[in-house]
Symmetry: C2
Subunit: 386 residues, 2 copies
């Protein structure tokens, strides 16, 4: 096990009918900006519950944050935050709204001239404007971590940011929000969380036995609840386990003391930036090819995953590893998630070269747990994903 540091101060309030608890989490003198997305919260009752909990507070609303939170829109919110002297941000939404609020938390107290630098120059945030979240879509884990991904369409860029100042002060997780989520989003959420685990687990054995067990436990739980939640999102037992698994998949615990990969996300982000494909689906496109391409480096963990998560008991390490990738694809297909690029766009020729070139243009850092994957490796992996 490698050395690690861990501190996650976010307060989680989890369970049925917990949104009214919001009132007591807010500083009494706060001037609040409440941010949300495309308006689904107005149809599923969350908006009313939040507004009711905010009675007596000074609140400015800012709706319309899109999936893949857009820099230009967030800059409009930032202007209002500064003009109106907002002191507390409240994200009501899924990962996109929360990620957007994290950028605003950082940007509101940023002392440089150009907030884009936070993303372009990977400036870490040690102190942001305090914020909390009411989660409406389990998937990204953003409700209990300090990372964020922001998109800037005018540059076709999708960039990451973060820092210890960007943990939510609290996050309210009422699994009943799952009841009204469309199947497509549920499937995306399951795949997003599942891939988050894989990115932190599918590397090389690092002697972190407990972290492996917990990672496998999240995967097993997602596999167990996936058909239930897709069949009936009002199944509270399935919804609550889905929601908590998504949070635990990316709250920092399973990455402690282990190498992490994240190459699937790096390549996937490019597919979203280029074609607007749902984040989770880009992961489903890339992951199987990535694991096949890197089979030699990852086969021990792939086989362990096959044995423990998919009960694959026959064959050599390599055979088990390959069978585990097939099982993963079957799981994705069972959620009606397609796993090749050509099923999403006819315009896929040249994508591999374009993505490799984009990495080169940004200054190549090397991908994968050893940071040894070169542009030509990326090109091959993306081509295998066509």
């Amino acid at each position: 096990m490698k050395n690690f540091e861990f501190k996650n101060p976010t307060k989680i309030i989890f369970g049925k009918d917990t949104i009214p608890k919001l009132t007591k989490q807010l500083p009494t003198e706060a001037k609040i900006m409440m941010l949300y997305g495309g308006g689904s919260i107005k149809r599923n009752g969350v908006y009313e519950q939040v507004k009711s909990a905010l009675e007596g507070f000074e609140v400015i609303e800012f709706g319309g944050i899109p999936a893949n939170p857009e820099y230009d829109i967030l800059m409009d919110a930032l202007k209002i935050i500064k003009e109106e002297k907002v002191t507390f941000l409240l994200a009501v939404g899924g990962g996109s709204v929360i990620d957007g609020v994290k950028f605003l938390s950082a940007a509101a107290l940023y002392e440089g001239d150009e907030p884009w630098d936070i993303l372009a120059k990977s400036i870490r945030t040690y102190k942001g404007m305090p914020f909390g979240t009411v989660l409406t879509l389990p998937a990204t884990g953003s409700e209990m971590n300090s990372g964020s991904v922001i998109t800037r369409h005018s540059l076709k860029e999708k960039r990451t940011m973060g820092g210890p100042g960007l943990f939510p002060q609290f996050s309210i997780l009422d699994p009943q929000v799952v009841h009204s989520i469309p199947k497509r989003q549920l499937a995306n959420g399951i795949v997003d969380a599942y891939t988050h685990v894989l990115e932190q687990y599918m590397t090389y054995p690092a002697g972190a036995f407990l972290q492996d067990r917990i990672a496998e436990g999240i995967l097993q739980t997602l596999i167990e609840i996936a058909p239930r939640i897709i069949a009936d999102p009002t199944d509270y037992e399935a919804a609550s386990n889905f929601m908590w698994s998504c949070t635990m998949a990316l709250n920092g615990l399973i990455q402690l003391g282990v190498p992490t990969d994240w190459a699937v996300h790096m390549m996937g982000h490019e597919l979203t930036a280029l074609y607007g494909i749902d984040h989770a689906r880009t992961l489903a496109i890339i992951a199987p090819s990535h694991y096949r391409y890197n089979l030699e480096a990852k086969k021990e963990k792939l086989a362990q995953y096959g044995e423990r998560v998919w009960n694959i008991s026959e064959g050599t390490i390599e055979e088990k590893a390959k069978a585990a990738i097939v099982k993963t694809e079957e799981f994705l297909h069972s959620l009606d998630i397609k796993t090749t690029l050509k099923e999403y766009t006819e315009d896929y020729e040249g994508t591999a070269e374009t993505i490799a070139q984009r990495f080169v243009d940004r200054g190549w850092k090397g991908l994968g747990e050893h940071r040894t994957l070169a542009p030509e490796d990326v090109e091959k992996i993306v081509k295998m994903s066509y």
Copy 2:
């Protein structure tokens, strides 16, 4: 899954040669009391490392905190803390030293007349004096939770306390401290952590699938590393997994949204108070009888534990449950831990009645996950443990 709230702000600094990082964790103006136990830290090099990290700080030392931290000794420390206007407490030790420091953290800022009331009247601490820990003995998990157990020999009492103000600000976990721990303490630590998991897991199925998986993962990890660490405490891979498993066993995560039992601890504490038997060994005495006595209520989870942790695949639910208890006893015996009271004291007759009476005298609250175990149940369970 039940509703829950969770916030654990302790910063963990984990790994090889991490004790020098202590310097940067302390407030620069702090007047520090460094507390430790019987002096093993002076033999294993930890004392020197800590002193070196404390260079330049104003430090008062207070050694001699015994296993089962003793109220009267802690009151001596409290007097010095007040006289010398100490502002920061540093626990260098195992669970006993850390628990003692938690009591002092609470008592130092307690406004009542009689600090014993914090224990006797279960007064929760919302703000304590800030403290950190350097862990020298993996076992109790006290380094990442806000609970404490204090003994007062003059009253033959062992009482619990806690509150959100009693999380360590930081805990430094260097698995190399394990290298010099005697076998007896290593076995105690494994059993302590193992039983912590059982108390939060071995109840009735509550639909918290992920918490179950994590609990099972900790048990599997402890089973995996136990023979290695007993055979060779300098096995760093085993030591690091042992240490992290002990922390994760009682940092709050696996109890989220599930019923918890803790009856084994409640009865075990009495055996320590009466006979001075090592805490972990009292748990090993009580646990098998407790699970046999409550088989009907706990058989689903016992069988699940048998299947997933011990690979028991044959038999009915009840047969698997019984086999799982036998496996647990065999595991304890493999660590050279005896599981009946008579192996620890010849003077055991009447113990069951005495313990039941002590619970009655304190005001009976009911034990077990349903809080329905009566004094006569306790009497029977303890008798089964003779």
